[in-house]
Symmetry: C2
Subunit: 242 residues, 2 copies
Amino acid sequence: MTYCVGMKLDRGLVFMSDTRTNAGVDNISVFKKMHSWEVPGERVITLMSAGNLATTQAVVSILEERTKAQSERNPSLLEAPSMFQVARMVAKVLKDVIAEHEQAGQQAAAFGATLILGGQIDGTAPRLFLIYPEGNFIEAGDDTPFFQIGETKYGRPILVRAYRPEMSFAEAVKLLMVSFDSTVKANLTVGLPFDVQFYEEGSLTLGYQSRIEADDADFQRISSGWGEALTAALDSLPDIEL
Amino acid sequence: MTYCVGMKLDRGLVFMSDTRTNAGVDNISVFKKMHSWEVPGERVITLMSAGNLATTQAVVSILEERTKAQSERNPSLLEAPSMFQVARMVAKVLKDVIAEHEQAGQQAAAFGATLILGGQIDGTAPRLFLIYPEGNFIEAGDDTPFFQIGETKYGRPILVRAYRPEMSFAEAVKLLMVSFDSTVKANLTVGLPFDVQFYEEGSLTLGYQSRIEADDADFQRISSGWGEALTAALDSLPDIEL
């Protein structure tokens, strides 16, 4: 499994992804699920993936090659005129990679993947998309300002309740750490380390990037403090009359 | 879908279930998913169900008939010598009902159901079981003192973090209301009203029973207060150094 969250804030975009991949529960590995491209001063694009690892790696490799080989550079992520066009391009590559295996007579579901794509191109606002294996996609708005992919359920209630668009990046990471901690505690196929990245609106350059290891002091404090904080939150609610 | 939780406390057992059933998202109904039997002073048995409604109603009806018709009273829930034997009996009925449809050439999964069974028989301790559609079952212990069935994921993190065996019944209901509220907010096929029941260890009589309607004042306060309480809990955690 996987757990990734992409979030729109007033200040920009935040991305967090776990790094565990598994084929069964007895074959686990660490792979980065967050990939970025930038042309400083012009565009920043970040992609996170959940699903079949061969599919998501193929998608990233195809996109990557197109940004490098001049002859294949059209269409390239680095030349698309808008984030919407970037999303269409990424979605088409995803759909094509999955279709390739479908044609080989295999079940499509097994090769499926879902992506979160976010970024900004000079002259337009930052945008955040959720791309489905079918090759279509939706965009985050004010009503639904974040997307989750992979094992989304355990970590969702805290996001729904505590997300505020005016959060600072540090507050957003604290919130995401709690959401990821709840997920890690419940599903063995989501695991540390986590990758985290901020994109500050208008900067048009890759922002803060970090890897949160299992022994990260902040994460340890959040994880161990959350049980107590939740119990206190519960106690703070009015008592029930029976 | 459905959401039910059965919980072992030092003081006894707590049960909570939602009442929404659905065939698709455009065909929803209210059905009670909690059923109890008692012989005051001798035994109390409570059963909650998730899964195919025809299956779970058939199971309850068969168990119910056996407690009434003298000729079919053996084996009856009211005569089994232990909660373990009650669990075996219920599990066998469940398996048989599912098998009946399987033999008719239908897919078994569509008729599946999972049950939570709890209660006490005079001279033995209260016990709590989770019964699978295959007809086998597991029992709650100190390490895993509660069971969830149905849409279990959204409401799980708060249970894992805030459950304490020494909770009062009122505290347990508050905890369960938060867990159910998180689930209702995320899955349309789990809905109010909720049924709640306590069994006080050693009482050998049905305890507090209540239905929590959507306009229940306690539930409203918990539901609306929880967002604020969670945000405060998050703020109480140490800030992160970026």
